[in-house]
Symmetry: C2
Subunit: 311 residues, 2 copies
């Protein structure tokens, strides 16, 4: 594709996602100009010295002439930030976000977004356990899904804006999917939010086992525990906001999880090996499907101790 | 080190661990001769064609002249296999295993092991989600801990045998730790057994969410879920045996986990963001400790989508 998808984009919040977006937009040429704002002066300075784009210390200036404003702050900060951005948006601009919960993000943005702007929430299914502007990289979205949750039954201009925003994300290497916000929140509750909650929880449990020292937990973590610590190292603020803002779907999913766990517990208590076998065998199938769908690597142990790595 | 630690070792069970042992023993010269046996003819043929050592279709012949016999079968098969091996062990030989549970493995072996043999149970904290002789590789144990759980208060000859077995594992690249069997089982319950149980369980829960299709679970698994599916792809028989044989420690740990999870659930229900922040913040610390201890890679996302990988 030649020519930029957007003349100018504005990125508000220069963390992992915001800084990756800036890099990707520049590298792919998806935007001719990338304007950036962060509430923190230190982060703005870092962004400048990393050459991420035109960093400004005025939110108004960053957003004023943007064709598309991408809000890249934790879900709990969306409403407040949107309120500050709203007066500066130009007519016909696209307003989007990258928040991990979509119904509350939509409501928070809708409360302040002017009518002359196309509000189209979004969520990239791409990320890492690291945060901040230095953690970002241009290829983060490549091959990943990007979910857009547009407002239903809008006019033609709106639908055109959705197409343009989709084209922008595709330009960054993402595959775009359109979904209802409430459905997004139910799907992500199981594929992302519950796994993070469980990971945080098992780390807590390990911490508090007074019969096993923390040193031993660390020392023997290669037995499986360390896999959980990766996602439990994710940004606490981001995840607090996810759980507070997707409460119903997370509690529903968690209820299912606890029921299933009680059944496994019972099988262990009563020595029901057949039940354990049945459950464990199904799990292999889903791993296979994930690898076949290109959603994970089949490298042994994520490639951490594959033969070639240590030899 | 020059000269082999053992003139001849016998490996019974040529799966991931057994075949890795054979490869490592040959590559490092830790044993001059590697004899192998597996109950399955197909696996014996594979082992022969992979050149893993002297494969025999007689268990008796495999063990008869071995200085050290390494039992590499699932924990639930240890007693039966030990009974078959027992009559063929030479006086002064070392009998060990690699089972993931140690108290029951000790009891199962002790029931049949002749008095003229040094019985020293062991467990390498190294493995992958793959099984079978083709999945093994020589460097599996390199840098990993190997836990030995010798029988306490034995004679000098026994202690000498423990030293020799430790030297053998160190030769393969492992770091050896001596531990009481019951303590091993409590420590591994939290660092390995519970994580696997939780991983299996979350995959089950995802399967059964009728409001979210399996296709969507697979498609959006990059949000965190896929991290769990790796260890949930581990061998079902091995893991059934682990849970049936480490019942008390697993149930105790699981009880703690469920209590902690109930507290998080409550915090979500009542919107207690401070409690969530506190819990999530501690988790980062343990990840840091694991990386500093060299027990995991700090590569972003386990290196799966690090900048260089996809660029
Ligand atoms: N990380 C992931 O894996 C991932 C994946 C998909 C979507 N997301 C979503 O992407 C968004 C950003 O996450 P991230 O990973 O980029 O986080 P991050 O690296 O921690 O960056 C967060 C950014 O938000 C800003 N911020 C935090 N609190 C704020 C507040 N109260 N008011 C204004 N700005 C505030 C931060 O400003 P400072 O510079 O002052 O700290 C920083 O610029 C979140 O909504 C998250 O749900 C994350
Ligand atoms: N995988 C890991 O991550 C890991 C890590 C540390 C310790 N361990 C321990 O290592 C041991 C072996 O695990 P692995 O990963 O090597 O498993 P694997 O690749 O599945 O191999 C298992 C081996 O045990 C044999 N076997 C299974 N059931 C048997 C029975 N009833 N009687 C006799 N032999 C039987 C198998 O024979 P066939 O060839 O006929 O199937 C095969 O040779 C287990 O005790 C496990 O707890 C595993």
């Amino acid at each position: 594709m030649t020519g930029a998808t957007f003349e100018e984009i504005a990125i508000v919040g220069i963390g992992l996602i915001g800084s990756s977006l800036a890099r990707a937009a520049k590298e792919t040429g998806a935007a001719s100009k990338v304007s950036l704002y962060d509430r923190s002066e230190a982060v703005r300075d870092t962004a400048s010295s990393l050459g991420l784009g035109d960093v400004s210390d005025s939110l108004a200036e960053t957003c004023r002439s943007a064709d598309c404003v991408l809000l890249c702050v934790p879900v709990g900060a969306i409403e407040e930030t949107m309120r500050d951005i709203a007066p500066h948006l130009k007519p016909g601009a696209i307003m989007t976000d990258v928040g991990s919960v979509k119904e509350s993000a939509l409501n928070a943005m809708q409360a302040h977004c002017p009518a002359h702007v196309h509000l189209i929430p979004g969520h990239p299914i791409a990320g890492t356990e690291k945060s901040g502007p230095k953690a970002g990289f241009a290829s983060l979205f490549r091959g990943a899904w990007h979910i857009l949750t547009p407002i239903p039954q809008q006019d033609e201009a709106y639908n055109g804006a959705v197409d343009r925003l989709a084209a922008f994300w595709e330009r960054l290497g993402a595959r775009v999917e359109i979904m209802d916000a409430a459905r997004h929140d139910r799907v992500l509750a199981i594929t992302s939010h519950l796994p993070h909650l469980i990971a945080y929880n098992i780390v807590s449990t390990a911490y508090d086992m007074e019969s096993v020292g923390e040193g031993e937990v660390v020392k023997y973590s290669a037995g499986g525990f360390r896999d959980f610590t990766r996602i439990a190292a994710s940004d606490p603020t981001m995840w607090r906001d996810v759980f507070l803002n997707n409460k119903d779907a997370v509690l529903e999913t968690l209820g299912r999880f606890s029921e299933d766990l009680a059944a496994l517990q019972r099988a262990i208590r009563w020595g029901d090996g057949d039940m354990l076998m049945r459950e464990f065998e199904r799990a292999r199938g889903i791993r296979k499907a994930i690898i076949e769908a290109g959603q994970d690597t089949d490298e042994t142990n994520f490639g951490r101790n594959a033969p070639d790595k240590k030899d």
